[in-house]
Subunit: 523 residues, 2 copies
């Protein structure tokens, strides 16, 4: 099978979802992750519609990508204007992307009602815009909007729109199921008709309004489509776009279509979670392949059988997508995780040592309270060392007070923290300001402790994430704070959980400081 | 097309999901809803494996159902025992259901490795169990476990297992994709082979491990399957079962298969949400057909077109499944989105009115600063009304102070807020505690304002989301707070952005309070 080209529109179509909003810096980081994953095209935005996107196309040039091409999205020219004078087309060229993708009308009804022009004029629109762009940009892709409905309404005209795109020199023609209503068994006949009519390589852009976007994409590939558009985690308006996290593994592992390398496929789960994190959304644990529950087997009938012959119960091996099998009633996998982690931290942990089980219990209890040790490995190491009794307390905090004041309606809120710390027999009592209560507390703690440990001056608070975890069955709502700190040598993450956000932040800060002191001592 | 029979296993397979747990009383209520929806078979449980389920089969007899049959689930008899002495089979008969469904092994590998019997014995197991049950229960269904993988491994044997079921008198033979690995284009050939081999009506039971369960079910129906198994909301282990909320509308509205009546289809969204409620799970807003976002349109380009000709943008009319069209705000908003939103809020906005452009500019600017109006429509409405000058200030906050204190190392952090508010000429100065600075501030503001506006007592803070937006080029790091509030009548969202988390929370709280006062006034 021809190598399938993957076209990611998380940053454009995906961002049109109600609950998804990325800053330009987020988009750059996501683009880098997608490039590492092996995505061939990254659609970075719609500069003609959203000025924020222009910044993306500028900034991405400063980043060195290994294989992905950057695409800019836009529409065919407006009716009474030539392409060189059309603002949207000009913006596309100014963005200087590797690829331009424009969408055009396929359904005769839309041409009359939405554009209010003749069917013939629409063909010129498509032809002109593509031909003009092809003179300025190396690669041009045409998205045939509402293709399947347009074809069902007026097949001859729909095919004419594709032919116009082909004549203009489009490098790929993408059949878009824009309203997501097409069902999988409808595709083979329609794609066959298209292939008789144009020879340009074809693509598919499915939406999930009938919960068939992934299926439609795979059926399309099975029928000769060579270019698949979708988003990570299926982000997108309404019911979402075709989920690349479900498509890529099926292509590689089942359809003999190595569109990404095996090593890249292993990073899929990490990419999925990274992008959920940046979108500040809770990952769907039931997602195919990469969800937390995707290979979580509940007990009873077949647990031991799974352990002996996983391939007869799991449709693929979870490690291939960076996931793991979880068996919900056993703690065997738990124990081996702890041992592996301890090794990583150069801690000698005997697998028969009862403290191993104790650490496992501690972790389960903390996780039930809302702790999460991914991204907070320093807290995890401190937890282990405390359980082993191999850590000395570098300081203790006797108390603190944080005051946030807004004295007049128009004034900004000022934050001030006061702390008392004790090292050996000495007490240090000081205060500091900050641009928020946590920032103030961080400054005050650092200021107090730097008297005893000057190396803390090298330390910076790099990132601060807050997640309010809603109350569950029988648990109150808690706040989880993840802090990333760094010095010249490395970065480390710590976590704190409490129903009080200041308290949670305090615990994460304390862990961060203790970890710095621990590692400087050479452990 | 034959009428398709719908078989719901929410109460059995659905309940095997990690996060789903129903009490017997819940199950009875769900069964009644499913019956009203028009479901033909309701699988109530697995009494041989889960004694709690026995109570369901007893209690459901006291309920009068209009059309649904109650099914009990279990397995084929154990190897060295006759059906009449097999405990699992006896429990099934004792439950006195209308229908019994049993599953059996199809894959030769499983017969050898899991059951450790010969292939021939397995056929006897299947035949015996079904024949015996058929003598006692009016209708008997056979679920061929791991059918598609078993067929691919050893087609002749897989078909033999089905033939055994047919000879025993099974009323329906269900092909189960137990590990969810089968892709849609594989089904037609396999189903054709099965139809050549048995004449018993066929069913499909798909799992969503490849995100193709719904598609597989529809393709199966297109290829002659007449019985579809699934769950409401796609509940189920791992990646879930085939989602009946996506299957039923496609069957009725697109496949000319009126498996439920139109009036029943309209209740679908209600049934979906009811069952989410009983499962204590947050509904997935992006669900096909019934999700909150399923017909929520973003992006300026086509909102005006949708209003004029919805059928050319929506694949079905949302009202047919009990849903509605929604228009969202975003930074891709064009003028038409703003106008549509204004209409929703009963604000008369002239499309040529320059204030419309002004609001659009304000939104884009605020969003560049980190504001997000999705999930914060109340803030958006307040913004519009302020721009139009049609809002009166219900109160002003002269100042506030929040103090977080941790007096000893082992003590929890206590938060206390003091506020001064002014309404008309009167000033109210009060204090309150909370389990965090924002909570304390919320209590104090509410306490102060309730003296003037008692209706604020009805108001609750329901959800609180914090996002720290990292610094970008030339912008400092800011914190965005989204608050959801509610009273007896509705819920509303507000947003605040600042580099100080208390300040950001304060702005979101103020908007929430003002919105409550605004709407109570009847705008």
């Amino acid at each position: 099978m021809n190598q399938i080209r993957l076209y990611d529109t998380t940053l454009r179509d995906g961002s049109q979802a109600e609950d998804v909003s990325f800053l330009v810096t987020d988009k750059i980081r996501i683009a880098q992750k997608l490039d590492e994953l092996g995505i061939h095209y990254i659609e970075g935005g719609w500069p003609g519609s959203n000025p924020k996107d222009i910044a993306f196309f500028k900034d991405i040039k400063k980043v060195s990508l290994s294989g992905a091409k950057i695409a800019a999205f836009g529409s065919t020219r407006r009716a009474k204007i030539t392409p060189d004078k059309d603002n949207n087309i000009r913006t596309l060229i100014q963005a200087e992307p590797d690829v331009v993708t424009i969408f055009g009308k396929t359904w005769d009804f839309h041409v009359h009602e939405a554009l209010r022009i003749s069917l013939e004029e629409n063909l010129e629109l498509i032809y002109d815009s593509l031909a003009y762009l092809k003179e300025h940009i190396g690669e041009v892709i045409y998205d045939a909007e509402h293709f399947f409905d347009g074809y069902k309404a007026n097949p001859a005209y729909a095919l004419k729109t594709l032919q116009a795109a082909q004549e203009a020199g489009a490098d790929c023609i993408v059949l878009c199921d824009t309203n997501g209503g097409t069902l999988p068994y409808e595709l083979p006949a329609i794609i066959a008709a298209v292939k008789k009519s144009v020879s340009t390589p074809l693509g598919i852009h499915a939406h999930n309004d009938s919960e068939c976007a992934v299926a439609n994409s795979l059926v399309a590939v099975e029928n000769g489509i060579v270019h698949v558009q979708g988003t990570i985690n299926g982000f997108g308006e309404r019911c979402g776009n075709a989920n690349l996290c479900s498509i890529i593994p099926s292509l590689v592992l089942k359809m003999e279509s190595p569109c990404v390398a095996d090593e890249q496929l292993k990073s899929l789960r990490g990419v999925s979670r990274y992008i959920y994190e940046l979108a500040n959304l809770v990952p769907n644990k039931h997602m195919a392949y990469v969800g937390n529950s995707a290979f979580a087997h509940k007990g009873g009938v077949h647990v031991s059988a799974i352990q002996r012959h996983p391939e007869t119960y799991e449709h693929v091996r979870p490690e291939r997508v960076g996931n793991v099998t979880r068996v919900l009633i056993s703690d065997l996998s738990g124990r081996s995780n702890i041992l592996a982690k301890a090794e990583q931290f150069n801690i000698n942990l005997d697998s028969k040592d009862p403290v191993t089980l104790e650490i496992l219990e501690d972790i389960k209890e903390l996780e039930n309270k809302g702790y999460q040790f991914e991204g907070a490995e320093a807290s995890f190491e401190l937890l282990m060392r405390r359980a082993l009794g191999t850590i000395r307390p570098y300081f203790s905090v006797i108390g603190y007070r944080v005051i946030d004041t807004k004295r007049h309606e128009d004034e900004k809120t000022l934050s001030e923290a006061t702390v008392q710390v004790k090292v050996g027999g000495r007490i240090e009592h000081t205060a500091a300001e900050g641009n928020g209560p946590v920032n103030a507390l961080d400054h005050a703690l650092r200021k107090a402790l730097e008297n005893f440990y000057p190396q803390l001056k090298e330390m910076r608070l790099l990132d601060y994430k807050v997640r309010v975890l809603p109350a569950g069955k029988g648990t109150a709502s808690v706040t989880r704070v993840l802090i990333e700190s760094g010095d010249k040598m490395e970065r480390w993450g710590t976590v704190g959980v409490s129903d009080n956000i200041i308290d949670a932040s305090y615990h994460a800060l304390i862990d961060a400081l203790q970890y710095k002191l621990l590692k400087d001592q050479g452990r």
